[in-house]
Symmetry: C2
Subunit: 148 residues, 2 copies
Amino acid sequence: MGTNVICQVGLVVRDIEKMAKVYADVFGMDVPNVIITDPAEVSHIKYRGESTPARAKLAFFQMGNVSLELIEPVDGPSTWREFLDEHGEGVHHIAFQIKGMDRVLVYLEGKGISAVQRGDYTGGRYAYVDSAPSLGVILELLENLGKS
Amino acid sequence: MGTNVICQVGLVVRDIEKMAKVYADVFGMDVPNVIITDPAEVSHIKYRGESTPARAKLAFFQMGNVSLELIEPVDGPSTWREFLDEHGEGVHHIAFQIKGMDRVLVYLEGKGISAVQRGDYTGGRYAYVDSAPSLGVILELLENLGKS
């Protein structure tokens, strides 16, 4: 993996605007902006190897050194939608900042853990892997890409 | 609450020895010792206001500033057993170090969030609250108590 530093905890929710307000109230923080992931033409999102129109509404709270990410699935199919349908609201993933996405995915493949969703965001790319059977939770790999 | 720093992510699992080995392998860390929570006479554990013989096997991985806690329920009833029965393996809670347990529990009660399990451990005490309906995840409050 190259790291064991948890940088983010991702929570799938049904109503992100409502839940963001509850978090802000309980923890005494500002209500964050809710953003939406880029459309597929920009994000190049693939779910289980296939293109998908799925997007997600996102909101972030900085909680110490960890970012709490609220995720409301929009359309589907996606790992977010699948989790919500199977489990209801709850912690969907823990995330790690990695370097060398392809190398790390090959490493995890060697441990029997495959990518289930990949995509790009402004400044980087991500992958979710099917680690729930072996690790009890989905891992997300985040790789920030500087301009070259 | 007095803090918004996530200090621990707690994962309920079926076979802690097996999963601890997988984490150690995937992340290149040492396999931690598995401990068991104190018996009820020592931990004063209460679940939904009643004494319970429930215990848990625990193992910890330090992952950056966050501790990943693996939890295998032993006997019951407990919040750990309830989660495993309802959701299967997965992230059970996020935890915060607080000061003044009773004060924080009164504050959360005012937000409609009640304690569901409380107990003592060597050097401190804990409470889990029923925040899943409002925050999508159970919160754990941890209070370390110095010798006076």
